[in-house]
């Protein structure tokens, strides 16, 4: 029975989770805001102190910030866009009945549970300029004349990194969209058949509209994850060559590693503000769904 009295129990039950989360999320977020206004460089611990908006001014003037922001946009648009397209194709193919479908579906999800580090390293090996299998395949097919160091060239490094994140993200989209597809009532397709719709019309007039909210929620979630992802890029290229693959998250991570925490905090506040536009939409949708359930 759902209780509506003002007992203390519901609060006591939430308390442990709340205390942990307040400690490890809210205090750090407030700290990040404070640090972003400080000269907080652990290499010069004697000089830690507030410096007003200096970090923010520096960020705005930092060409690497703007380049990283631009890289982030390309990374997210191309990465999530292609994940969506191929994930959708995979979901449609898996939605048909065929022997062994369950096994194929499980296997296709493995990239999704693979550690980001390992993804970065596996693909780094595939892209390798000397012993890499991609070079070997392209040479055998006659598409290239000599081995290319994909990750060491500015022109090819970013596409290679995007290919890797696409590979990682296809299963998640396929999983969510497949669940959506299985929820579309058969009658909708039958009705479309009666109206004489062909396959393409059915896809755009029945399938896509029915999946609208799954597509919306999954895409928003994926944008946030991909924008925040550090491990894949860092283990492929560490942001190089010559910052060609340095997204904002990777830039912040590199700055944090160099112990200039104040500046890294300022950069991460900027990233959070950029992502907030996406996050707010996501949260609004989820709250609406929650209320629908309650």
């Amino acid at each position: 029975m759902i209780k509506r009295n003002s007992s203390i129990w519901p609060y006591l039950l939430v308390a442990p989770a709340l205390i942990v989360v307040l400690t490890v999320v809210f205090i750090p977020v407030i700290n990040a805001i404070l640090m972003s206004f400080q000269n907080y460089d652990l290499r010069r611990p004697g000089r830690i102190g507030f410096n007003d908006f200096k970090n923010y001014v520096d960020v705005i003037r930092d060409p690497l910030f703007w380049s990283a922001l631009w890289k982030t946009i390309v990374w997210v648009v191309a990465g999530v866009g292609l994940q969506f397209v191929f994930g959708f194709i995979l979901a449609l193919l898996l939605n048909k009945k065929f022997p062994g479908r369950g096994v194929v579906r499980s296997l296709s999800l493995i990239p999704w549970v693979t550690p980001g580090v390992l993804i970065g390293l596996m693909w780094r090996w595939i892209f390798d300029g000397n012993y890499g299998v991609l070079n070997d395949l392209l040479l055998r097919l006659g598409l290239i004349q000599e081995s290319l160091p994909f990750l060491a060239r500015e022109a090819s490094a970013f596409p290679a990194v995007i290919l890797t994140i696409v590979w990682q993200g296809i299963p998640f989209f396929a999983l969510m969209l497949l669940a959506g597809l299985q929820g579309i009532p058969e009658e909708l397709y039958n009705a479309a058949d009666v109206d004489g719709a062909n396959g393409i019309q059915k896809f755009f007039l029945v399938t896509v509209p029915s999946l609208k909210s799954v597509i919306y929620v999954t895409t928003l979630l994926r944008i946030i994850w991909v924008a925040n992802s550090v491990d894949v890029i860092f283990n492929l290229t560490e942001g190089g060559p010559a910052y060609a693959t340095q997204t904002l998250s990777v830039y912040i991570f590199n700055k944090g590693n160099s112990l200039n925490l104040g500046y890294a905090a300022t950069l991460s506040i900027m990233l959070t503000l950029v992502l907030a536009t996406v996050a707010v939409r996501y949260l609004k949708t989820m709250f609406r769904n929650q209320e629908g359930k309650a």
Binding site: P28, M122, W125, F253, S268, G292
Partner: protein, 278 residues
Amino acid sequence: MKKRGPDLLKSFLSYLLLVALIVFLLFPFYWTFVTSIKTSAELYGRTVTYWPKAPSFESYRRLFSEYNFLRPMGNSLLVAALTTLISVTVSVLAAYSFSRYRFKGRKFLMSMFLTNNMFPTVLLLIPLYAIMRKIGILYTPSSLVLSYTTFTIPFSIWLLSGFLDDLPLSLEEAAMVDGANRAQAFLKIILPILMPGIVATGAYIFMNSWNEYTFAVMFTNEANRTIPVALKNLIGQLGVEWGMLTAGGIITIIPVCVMFFFAQKRLISGLTAGAVKG
């Protein structure tokens, strides 16, 4: 119904596409495995081979003898197990409260937990590093367990609330009419039915903690580094030990895959429920 020509062609093409996609998704794992059982002479030889001439488990042996891979494995296991235990315990309680009570501030608290998931890892990373350093738990497993709860608790509460909302209230009501109190009803009735959901949530937390790199690389040192950090460390100044690295990679994903296959049904239904219902 008899299949017409174009239909046959269409289904042939769609199988072809499916096979191509699956090959694309699985080839990197095949390649990692093949690399791990090649001898280094073959690995760095002039021609690239697609199946080793003489399969050898030398890389695996070296990984454990020269590199002591058991140590990061133990560290990862400790961190992942502790994170799972803590996250599941506090999340079950909170999720039960959200699902079974209506109280002042419920919506506010729920939205707070959901919002938590939206903060970029790197935003939390920097101040957490400073905080862990100050309170003296930097470079201990506790620092990792604590930082992992930033994403595991909000997520688990959300997932478990979904599972709980699907359990009919009549189950507890019947028990409580029979004289059980709320705690007994929870322990005897709800918990056993919820168990598959808890196991799926736990598996998800375990996988995420096992796989995590960004916090791990900043919050650990030589003694307590976890598998992802250890793998990355195989890339040294003089080059990469690809044989050992791929062997380590294979060892890393086996437990994750096993867990995932057991938990996947519940996990997938829990993950997709929120998005699909909307």
